[in-house]
């Protein structure tokens, strides 16, 4: 008997728990030659905004041991071009497409949620709250519980699709943020977004990234991500989507044991464009080999 890999994540029915992470998978089409999208659970688009964004100057990425820093600057085509040029591809794939989005103000977030809510091909919304609030001195929405609550409340009122809130790890207590988002009406939480880091070029005495700091991702962040997923899964009732340095099926299954209902594969897709599909297949093989009939039986099954 093939193991049951299906999960229901906040109303999104997934054939298996493996999604691709925002910003690492374009708008889906870029990977069509490398991944059979119908063998992964869902794919998440690059973060979208109302207006197109050009992004930061280069260098935008740098590798560090076991990880990479990026400061792309949320370059994206904007919601209008997304609807016109990217959404038609979604119709050709029987896999949920999740639209990741952000704004500079609460109103922009709400407007984005409203616009995305009108697109039938979008199965769910993932809101990136790791952006500075330009109207409140640039405080990052996702690092202040009150700000996060305001933005999630506004998005909740603007959409009836499943609303996933992507949490920043750059906070003192991630559970406080998780609870604020739960109370504001989120349907699921995904974590972790990248950790803020930096790299220095000693000989030039300059930061490597033009933006100075960037988001740290890759296998080096997995222990932090696992810890935060475990804390949040215990601290809230919402389903949790685990993200952070997942390179293989073992990593993915560890997140599920820690309490994640689903996982997202990010940086691994850069190295191996077929990573998400391979991880899903290897998870199934591990379950068969270990006599686990249903993936749902592993969610939060960590023994402590």
């Amino acid at each position: 008997m093939k193991p049951d890999m299906t999960v229901n994540c906040a109303g999104i029915l997934l054939r298996n728990p493996v999604m691709t992470a925002s910003g690492t998978f374009g708008y889906g089409e870029e990977f069509a030659g490398y991944v059979d999208l119908e063998r992964i659970g869902a794919f998440v688009t690059k973060g979208l905004s109302l207006k197109p964004r050009g992004g930061n100057p280069t260098p935008r990425i740098v590798e560090t041991p076991g990880g990479m820093l990026n400061a792309i600057g949320l370059q994206n085509v904007g919601i209008d071009a997304f609807i016109e040029k990217k959404v038609p591809f979604f119709r050709s794939v029987k896999t949920p497409a999740i639209a990741n989005f952000f704004g500079n103000t609460v109103d922009e977030y709400a407007e984005m949620a409203r616009r995305l809510n009108e697109i039938p091909e979008v199965a769910a919304l993932e809101v990136n709250i790791s952006c500075p609030n330009v109207k409140q001195g640039g405080i990052v929405f996702g690092t202040d519980p009150a700000c996060a609550s305001t933005v999630v409340t506004a998005c909740r009122a603007a959409t009836n699709k499943p609303l996933i809130v992507k949490l920043s790890p750059n906070v003192t207590d991630v559970v406080v943020m998780a609870k604020a988002c739960e109370d504001a009406g989120a349907d699921a939480l995904s974590l972790i977004n990248t950790l803020t880091g930096m790299a220095i070029d000693l000989n030039r005495r300059r930061p490597v990234l033009a933006n100075i700091t960037g988001g740290f991702s890759g296998p080096a962040i997995k222990p932090i991500a696992l810890r935060m997923v475990w804390q949040v899964a215990r601290g809230v009732k919402l389903p949790v989507i685990g993200i952070g340095g997942i390179m293989n099926a073992t990593d993915a299954l560890e997140f599920i044991l820690a309490g994640a209902t689903a996982v997202q594969v990010g940086t691994a897709s850069f190295i191996n464009p077929g990573a998400a599909q391979q991880i899903a297949a290897e998870m199934e093989a591990w379950m068969e080999a270990n006599g686990v009939a249903d993936i749902k039986s592993l969610i939060g099954a960590l023994e402590t």
Binding site: Y34, G54, G55, R60, Q75, A220, T267, S269, P273
Partner: protein, 272 residues
């Protein structure tokens, strides 16, 4: 396309510069000059990302065992600059590598009646050999190869064997003219009567100078760029170059891996 490649040879051709020959699947035979590959140096997580390399040459490999079928092979010319390339240089014949490619948009071969002027700096010659190999079939080709020292001027004999007329320049005068290779390019352009097309790959300063020369003389010019990239397939957006319409208000970024690595020089923004 993603494939496993077997190393056929890996040798240092000049201090710090290596040339690797490796097997490829049948589809690779159609790789065009200017395209590149993303190489995973090992299966571990350090180095984490693939490394991009220009395709130096594409050929046919016939195993020595009798009855073994021929298959395409390709070559990379690379410089040891860090951890990844150092590990690559330590690999041997029969070692296996995980490769993505051929990737990106290659060179436009232009018109038969144009004299083709190829300008390469250091390891920037890497994607220009396969280009020269195609161009000599239809046009006259001249190569202008520059470097800091003679050690940085690579594979000139191979270009000469194709029938390419080669000019060399080094900053320390240890090979060819002392100075920048763009001087020799300018002299050729001054005496040229017919049409020309320029191709360039090398350090940014050299590309900048070549692009300026091409713009001043309205000569079509294509440049091949390098970029820090994670994926090579247009997803990470790490490797962008600034387009000619770029300004802080109206950003114009071009993806080096999918829109390039070869661009019309007039499409990019250069320093004045």
């Amino acid at each position: 396309m993603q494939f496993t490649s077997m190393i056929l040879s890996n040798a240092e051709v000049s201090p710090g510069y290596w040339r690797m020959r490796m097997t490829a699947p049948q589809e690779f035979a159609s790789a065009s000059p200017g395209q590149f590959v993303m190489v995973r140096v090992n299966g571990a997580i350090d180095p984490l990302l693939r490394r991009p390399f220009g395709i130096f040459d594409v050929g046919v490999y016939t195993p020595s065992q009798s009855g073994a079928l021929s298959q395409p092979c390709f070559e990379m010319l690379y410089r040891v600059v860090g951890k990844g390339t150092l590990m690559l240089s330590a690999l041997h014949e029969t070692d296996l590598l995980d490769i993505l490619g051929p990737l990106g948009m290659g060179f436009d071969l232009g018109y038969v009646d144009e004299e083709k002027l190829i300008v390469g700096g250091g390891v920037g010659l890497a994607p220009l050999y396969l280009l020269a190999k195609e161009l000599v079939k239809q046009s006259q080709v001249r190569l202008f190869a520059g470097g800091r020292t003679r050690d940085d001027v690579l594979c000139i004999t191979e270009f000469e064997r194709l029938g390419v007329e080669c000019y060399t320049a080094t900053e320390d005068g240890s090979l060819g003219e002392c100075g920048l290779v763009t001087e020799a390019l300018l002299r050729r352009l001054d005496t040229l009567k017919g049409k020309a097309k320029i191709y360039a790959c090398g350090p940014h300063g050299m590309l900048n100078a070549v692009a300026k020369i091409a713009a001043e003389r309205t000569i079509p010019c294509q440049v091949s760029l390098e970029g820090y990239m994670a994926c090579g397939v247009g997803a990470c957006l790490g490797c962008v170059a600034t387009g000619h319409r770029h300004s802080p208000e109206t950003p114009d970024f071009r993806c080096v891996c999918t829109e390039g690595p070869v661009f019309e020089s007039g499409e990019l923004k250069w320093r004045d």
